[in-house]
């Protein structure tokens, strides 16, 4: 089965990013089953590695003005987090 792909916007220097720790971030789904929902964002608890092979899914990284890093990282999404009042 093909790996799912997500992306995120990193608002810090990638060199200072700490890998393999549980963190909360906003990711966008780039490969949903229903293509109409491509780019759906959500808050996720996840682990991230700069290596593309460490975790099950690919994570493309963009910087603050949308610049795409050349190589994807990898991500394991632990759960989606709801931030909005019901």
């Amino acid at each position: 089965m093909a790996r799912k792909e997500f992306d995120t916007f990193l608002l810090q220097d990638p060199a200072t990013f700490i890998e393999d720790q549980e963190l909360e971030l906003i990711v966008r789904d780039l490969t949903p089953e229903d293509r109409r929902t491509k780019y759906r964002s959500f808050f996720a608890k996840a682990k991230v590695s700069k290596s593309s092979s460490s975790y099950p899914d690919l994570l493309w990284v963009r910087l603050g003005r949308g610049q795409l890093l050349e190589e994807p990282w990898s991500i394991e999404i632990l759960k989606e987090v709801n931030k909005f009042p019901e």
Binding site: D34, K38, R40, G64, K83, P85
Partner: protein, 481 residues
């Protein structure tokens, strides 16, 4: 008296087709970047609007790009001859908007095309709509690129229509900047947030051209009344499904919901009207969706901001400049005209004046920098009546020759700016701080007349009889025009 104008986008599209200002795109186009790329190129080349008949994944929808990115299309939207000159369009706008405000008329929902389809609850998903990914690397899909947001002041009940960009976050959530000095910003952050109250909103996607024009005009009155002035009759509104707001009945798509207090999520980056991706990705205002209503076979209007010229730049420049015109005229300043260059991404305004007294340029700059219009521009060029304010070559000539490099330039520090200003430092962007500059291109009045430089041009250097003779014989000399 009602003016002749297109009542909705469908009528507008027919008029554009008849005038040759539109191209029908029968080939399927993808909402994911392809449609945006086409619209961007159309704006940069100043080509006819593309009317997209087939959108990937969204067979029930059509889309229309760059609806008012040229003065020809603006003239058609105002019901004028597409060949109208900029001063003619400007004079018509000023004439229509100088009179008494015309309140809107609320019509029955059965007569409102925007109620032909109503989606509530889970059906009201933002992914039901073909929101384009406008530029590669944007923070999300921007459903609202040619639209306005309706909101109501909870104390005065005044209505505001304003173009506030909205990025799709998930099926029920949009997010976008609502700057604190904007009308909606003052309302939401000043009156709803302190009480922790959600603010009802309705996003009007693809309204008629004059309602859209009214929504981006920085007018001092409620925009629904301003739209009526542009139309010469009341704009027809209809009540929303889920809140106490009214929306243009003939619009294509309406999104209703609430702006949520005390919750912010990250928005941007986005390719902005300055022609850059400037404002930072940061926590911004959150809209939660409750209902979507739309016409049958809805047409989604798409604007694509970037380097000049798109409709955001053109219409904002047009209306900002003319609101300044009205302000200066109301103060008795002897102006000959005001023109904001769309190519400046509404940052530079040219004011023509009869220099009746010393330092009149300073007075002009102080007035317009001190008005509510000022966050959106920062350069004022004041020229005398011999400069054609609509002619860029003439303005550049005046700027380069008549503005003293030291005495003619005045800097205004510590002004209101926007996070979108590419020239601003990251810290200035965060706090919406800016600076302003005046270029005074009038000759000082105390110079002896004999020392005043005289403009050397065909129109100024030759007696009328010689000019007439040369023009009458022009083709005989071998010239086409």
């Amino acid at each position: 008296m009602a003016y002749s104008y297109p009542k909705d986008n469908r009528e507008f599209i027919k008029k554009l087709e008849a005038s040759g200002d539109m191209v029908t795109v029968e080939q399927e186009v993808d909402w994911d970047l392809e449609m945006g790329a086409i619209v961007r190129r159309v704006c940069e080349k100043q080509l006819p609007s593309p009317y997209f008949k087939k959108i990937t994944d969204y067979p029930a929808f059509e889309a229309f790009g760059a609806p008012m990115a040229t003065y020809r299309r603006l003239a058609i939207g105002m019901g004028m001859d597409p060949k109208s000159t900029i001063p003619e369009i400007a004079a018509e706008y000023v004439k229509r908007t100088k009179g008494k405000p015309i309140p809107p008329k609320v019509i029955d929902r059965k007569d409102a095309p925007c109620k032909e389809n109503i989606l509530l609850g889970d059906d009201a998903s933002l992914f039901y709509l073909p929101g384009p990914m406008v530029h590669d690397g944007d923070g999300g899909r921007y459903l609202a690129t040619w639209h306005f947001v309706v909101s109501k002041d909870p104390e005065t009940l005044a209505i505001n229509w304003g173009m506030y960009r909205m990025m799709v976050f998930d099926e029920k959530t949009m997010v976008g900047p609502v700057l604190p000095f904007s009308d909606m910003g003052k309302m939401f952050y000043g009156k709803y947030v302190p009480k922790n109250q959600p603010m009802p909103f309705a996003a009007v996607l693809s309204a008629d051209p004059l309602s859209s024009l009214a929504s981006c005009a920085p007018s001092p009155m409620p925009e629904d009344e301003f739209a009526g002035m542009l139309m010469g009759e009341p704009v027809e509104l209809v009540k929303c499904e889920t809140c106490d707001l009214e929306v243009p009945a003939h619009a294509e798509i309406i999104i209703e919901g609430e702006v949520i207090p005390n919750v912010m999520i990250e928005e941007a980056p986005f390719g902005e009207y300055t022609g850059y991706r400037t404002s930072p990705r940061e926590p911004r205002t959150v809209y939660r969706v409750k209902a979507i209503t739309h016409r049958n076979n809805p047409i989604m209007m798409i604007s694509n901001m970037g380097v000049p010229t798109d409709e955001g730049q053109l219409l904002r420049s047009f209306s900002l400049g003319l609101e300044m015109h009205k302000l200066l005229e109301s103060q008795g300043i002897p102006i000959t005209g005001v023109y904001m260059l769309p190519e400046s991404t509404h940052h530079m305004v040219v004011v023509g004046v009869r220099p009746a007294y010393s330092n009149i340029a300073s007075q002009i700059a102080n007035l317009i920098f001190g008005s509510k219009l000022s966050p959106w521009f920062h350069m004022v060029i004041v020229v005398d009546e011999e400069t054609d304010i609509y002619n860029k070559d003439d303005v550049i000539h005046a700027l380069s020759t008549k503005c003293h490099p030291a005495r003619g330039i005045q800097i205004y520090e510590n002004h209101v700016g926007t996070p979108l200003n590419p020239y601003a430092s990251p810290a200035e962007r965060k706090l919406s701080r800016g600076a302003k500059v005046l270029f005074d291109c009038t000759f000082p009045l105390d110079w002896p007349k004999s020392d005043l430089p005289i403009k050397v041009a065909f129109s100024t250097m030759y007696p009328q009889a010689i000019q007439d003779k040369v023009l009458a014989n022009w083709k005989n000399y071998g010239y086409e025009e």
